[in-house]
Symmetry: C2
Subunit: 144 residues, 2 copies
DNA sequence: TGCCATACGCACCAAGAGGTGAGAAATGGA
DNA sequence: TCCATTTCTCACCTCTTGGTGCGTATGGCA
């Protein structure tokens, strides 16, 4: 214990950790941009948004009740809210046909399609690693 | 009136919509798998999880307080919760050094790294389309 | 006459997410 | 002796999220 730090931390570990941090210095990102991106991700990475996005991507144009049927577990209120949000963000177009009873159709915009494509990798990951995650959970849950 | 629907809706629109749906028939996915994937997406597409994932990806190993400093706005409680969840899902490894005061380090597992890579496309999309989304919102907000 | 279908808006309420502040545990330093 | 440090857990409280049910417009239909 010639070094007082040895009493508190393992020096090798400290050195290792700090070396690692040094090799990965702070990225020179504009914090303003980063905040906006984080915000946007927070909006877009919503569970219902993701599910509706995927559904519209694979089915094309759908009307309100059709979406409600296919997105299992979503309430009418949440679906309305989600679609409004997506419309505001420019991800879907909402077409109202002035007929009785009302007929409203939703479809992805090119922006929505590009977002869906961007999420494609995540879906693939989820499918591919589902088993690994479940096993990790089992291992975590069955120990101390 | 061979089809009673014609009385209530514009036939051309119906035909168009149904043709569209026909070209995109139901995907033959196992609903059990799909439910699991949706569930996993719901877990993983959490705001804090995403931010922590990205941070660990670009900085490597970090200890608790470092993460708390860098992920702006996260509370201690949420950070603990998020890290536990990620550990349970096999996305991060948690290393406790039995020293005083405690030193706990977090790093991504290979699984975590692969998820981060899968989300890469989404980050790029967000950066690239930030402007488009903001403009869509302005347009939406300033009309009727 | 009265009911149905469709896509909502609104109001009310329960459940859960998340913030805050306290405390715990071990030890070197003032 | 007492404090600072670090990574939490726990209890309490607030605020948001989301579910449920009701209302609405309108024209065809039994």
């Amino acid at each position: 214990m010639e070094n007082p730090l040895q009493k508190r931390f393992a020096p090798a570990e400290i050195a290792e950790a700090e070396a690692f941090i040094d090799t990965n210095p702070e990225a020179p990102l504009d914090p303003r941009i980063e905040r906006l991106v984080n915000d946007l991700i927070g909006r877009v990475a919503d569970k219902w948004t993701l599910l509706v996005l995927e559904l519209l991507e694979e089915r094309g144009t759908l009307r309100f009740t059709r979406i409600a049927e296919q997105v299992e577990g979503i309430s009418q209120k949440m679906l309305t809210q989600t679609l409004r949000q997506m419309e505001r963000d420019g991800l879907v177009i909402r077409t109202v046909h002035p007929v009785v009873p009302p007929r409203v159709e939703y479809a992805l915009t090119p922006l929505g399609n590009s977002l869906s494509a961007a999420f494609c990798g995540v879906w693939v990951w989820a499918e591919r690693n589902l088993e690994a995650v479940e096993e990790a959970r089992r291992r975590f849950d069955t120990r101390d």
